[in-house]
Amino acid sequence: MKQKLSRRDLLKGSAALGLTAISASVKAAAPEPSAITPALVEAAKKEGKVVFYSSMDLPVGEKLGKAFEAAYPGITMQIERSGSERLFQRVDQEFASNIRAADVINTSDASHTIPWKKNGWLAAFVPEDVARHFPEQYRDPDGMFALTRVYLSSIAYNTALVKAEDAPKSFADLLDPKWAGKMVKGHPAYSGTIMTATFQMVREFGWEYYEKLAKQRVMQVQSSTDPPKKLALGERAVMADGNEYNVVLLKEAGQPVEPVYPTEGAPTISGPTAIFASAPHPNAARLFQAWLHTRETQQFFTDFTAQYSVHAQVQSKPGRRKITDIKLMKEDAAGVEAMAEEIKTRYARLFRV
């Protein structure tokens, strides 16, 4: 369908965040926005539980869960954390066997929503906050998902092992032989973040970049939450990709890590959240989805998880670099969907795992 590119400046700055939402053959219009009503809360409490599949960093996700439980006592949150690509496979497996375990899913590979919508697996639900405060380009016309968080995949280094002046400043720098054997990165077959980042990188630099990077004896881990941790442990000196928000959180906790925003631009990751049509706890799911996109929760994302929100009323955290100040690569969910298979295969061939 239509690819909407914003002509207006973003509320916060100049960088263009383009989120393409391609709706499927189902041309239903989005349902009316729903507020959090006492009736909804009651119904949710009766169900007592919400099962949330997410690829968010584990402590971050669990903190979120505890906040939700505190806001609505009587509803327990069970978080199933795994890399987005693994989650996608699991969902596929479960649906194929008619297993309905998941209520809500947040994925860091925005392209996943495309096949899910096509299969009719998602439920349409528009929280009030999304309808009122989320810019149009970040909403799904069919109301089947909402953009919960935005973040980047960046470079980073361990400050105890690398001096600031020697640190790499760009993706091109990473190909320098002096970084051979000193880098760590995630894997697109497991991590949605890395899948999205790899797509954007290939689009910008072509596969030659990865062919050269593969020769650098990079330590391969799975999830995008892992490279920052490996950096903090001192296991490697530089991370070639991984969650920038994890690096920031670790730095705030006193670990010797420092993010680097590559001069060519940092791959942009958006994490949409959707409710499954077959959710075993539909009301709790709706409540959670609504709660997730309120100003308070979105502010929480910004203040405590170092991620970015597109909610119009959310204030950026003082001292935190604004997303509009960072050079970003453009997103293209449809592109990722088309290329996912090829990315996995070629990457596996290049990096041998």
Binding site: E62, Q78, I79, R81, L161, Q220, Q255, R352, V353
Partner: protein, 573 residues
């Protein structure tokens, strides 16, 4: 022709024995044959279910598949060799000499056995990651070397072989130690009387007699190393290569290539069967031997001045599977940074608090694991008991087939079974995928063979006349089994129960394929946490796992298991 009149005074009920036994046979067949049939179907057909060999052709012509095959072969062979080299002297020292601390060494070997290999792999990451590993830090500190000098790199082929050997050598130890324990002292006495010195006796009498057990043990070690999933999955990816098991698992990534996964499982299965036949040929029918023989206690070689050296050697060897990894785990559990040594100043309970109060999967995983452990152990023990009874007492025709089926699952590597069960139970009529039942079936199938063998050995110690005496007085077979045999087998039954429980706790290769979010078990949770790099949480959960395991083992510590029996205590005295 006289007809049979009404039955004697005591019983006129139907004897349920035969129908019950036929039922158990049917269960066994379903457990084994069903998944294997589906595996065969998927391996030898296309997506449209047309027969074809294409899957195998794809497999063997693609270097992506051949490389892991080669890697696995190297890993398995080298591990087996190392296991033998390590286990043989330790078993000899423990079994045939007067080295002090023999009981302790046996206990430590037991500890190595019950430690899940994937947990050991994570612990060794903490110890020997090239830059952050504790041992490498120590090395650099002591030698003032460059900051990128590396003594050990666990993310390498050598590293994987090392870790796998650490947790596979107990298998060799058990077989060799058992053989040596049961070797009649008279044989070595004869050599001594004829003038053979200790070493000569060892060389010419003891070693040749123990050789079959050693060879059998090395075959088992080879098989274990070949079919492990956890350790390679944790260490091979960062090292940059696949093994057969990780490759099979990767074929489940979206979009799943089930036909290729099934085809890749076939060589593993065939190789296992071949090697097991070889092992049986070498060892005869003795698997787990009965304790206590008809001969005198073994003659102990006096070590004299060498005793403490020997003990030191054993303890150093056991540093690797036990002391160092456990230390690393404890350190990571209480330290803010997993590879920094904890100090009184930095000691924190934050990780423990996180795992037990914030991590939402903990409770579920613990619950599932304990439920599955208990259920599998109970059902498995009963199943093994009845089948051991049927085969030992030859109750029905074809009881030999039953015995074969009970041991057959040994030939199926865990991940292969996982694939087979996945293919069987994700389709009507029995969609067990997504329930705990499919995990129960998997764990039962995996643990049944050793349970059966243990109980079979235990049965052999019970004189059939004890049951006959019960039957002639009016009890049916089942009643006699229940009132007479089972109570007498109590220690054996309890030991088997514990064995299965522990086996369930450390199982990962089948669980990783069969779990869903609601049926997650501890082993899978630990694997997931490794994916996201949450090492401290792994350490806490790993320790919890070990605590549960050891509690179970110690609660029944008088049980014959790796030397905890009265007979073995006698031997060690």
């Amino acid at each position: 022709m006289t007809t049979v009149a009404e039955v004697a005074p005591s019983k006129s009920r139907i004897d349920w024995t035969k129908p019950v036994l036929w039922l158990f046979s049917a269960v066994l067949i379903a457990l084994i044959l069903l998944p294997m049939s589906w595996l065969a179907v998927f391996a030898f057909t296309t997506k449209a279910r047309q027969p074809t060999l294409q899957n195998f052709i794809t497999l063997f012509s693609d270097p992506d598949f051949l490389d892991p095959l080669l890697t696995t072969a190297i890993i398995a062979t080298t591990s087996a060799a190392i296991c033998c080299v390590v286990a043989a002297p330790i078993s000899w020292l423990v079994s045939r000499t007067d080295m002090p601390g023999r009981q302790i060494i046996r206990a430590l070997v037991t500890a190595s056995f019950v430690t899940p290999p994937f947990l050991g792999a994570v612990a060794w990451e903490l110890l020997a990651a090239p830059n952050s590993g504790l041992l490498n830090q120590l090395y650099r500190y002591l030698t003032k070397a460059e900051s990128d000098a590396v003594l050990f790199n666990i993310y390498s082929l050598t590293g994987i072989i090392f870790v796998i050997s650490c947790y596979t050598f107990p298998f060799v130890f058990v077989l060799v130690a058992n053989a040596l324990d049961n070797m009649p002292g008279e044989l070595e006495d004869a050599s001594a009387i004829l003038g053979g010195k200790a070493w000569t006796t060892a060389r010419r009498v003891t070693i040749p007699l123990a050789l079959p057990a050693l060879v059998a043990g090395s075959l088992i070690a080879f098989l274990q190393a070949m079919t492990l999933f956890g350790s390679p999955a944790i260490l091979a990816l960062p090292a940059g290569f696949h093994t057969m098991t990780t490759k099979i698992w990767s074929l489940f990534q979206y979009p799943p290539k089930l036909e290729l996964a099934a085809a890749a499982a076939v060589p593993l299965l065939l190789l296992t069967i071949v090697l097991l036949q070889a092992q049986k040929f070498i060892l005869g029918r003795r698997g787990y031997s009965v304790l206590g023989g008809k001969y005198g206690p073994p003659r102990r070689v006096e070590m004299k001045g060498w005793r403490w050296v020997a003990l030191a050697f054993c303890l150093i060897m056991l540093l690797n599977p036990v002391f160092l990894p456990y230390f690393a785990l404890f350190n990571a559990a209480f330290s803010p940074n997993a590879t920094t040594l904890v100090t009184p100043g930095t000691f924190t309970l934050h990780n423990i608090v996180f795992v037990f109060t914030e991590l939402s999967s903990t409770q579920l995983a613990l619950k599932n694991t304990v439920i599955l452990g208990t259920a599998t152990a109970t059902v498995g023990t009963i199943l093994a008991l009845v089948i051991a009874y049927v085969t030992t007492r030859r109750v029905i025709t074809g009881s030999r087939v039953l015995g074969f089926l009970a041991t057959a699952p040994v030939a199926v590597p865990g991940i292969v079974l996982g694939v087979g069960l996945f293919l069987s139970y994700t389709r009507p009529p029995f969609v067990l995928y997504g329930t705990l039942w499919i995990l129960l079936v998997a764990f039962l199938t995996i643990n049944l063979p050793s349970a059966y063998q243990q109980l079979q050995a235990a049965f052999a110690t019970i004189h059939p006349e004890l049951e006959e005496a019960s039957r002639i007085l009016g009890a049916s077979r089942l009643q006699s089994l229940w009132r007479i045999t089972a109570p007498l087998l109590r220690t054996g039954v309890i030991a088997t129960w514990c064995f299965i429980f522990i086996g369930v706790m450390r199982e990962l290769s089948a669980a990783i394929i069969l779990f869903t979010s609601q049926t997650k078990v501890l082993s899978v949770l630990i694997y997931d946490l490794n994916e996201s790099g949450d090492l401290a949480a792994i350490a806490v959960l790993g320790i919890a796992m070990l605590v549960i395991t050891f509690a179970v083992v110690l609660a029944v510590n008088r049980i014959p298991m790796f030397g905890g029996s009265a007979g073995a205590r006698l031997r060690n005295s």
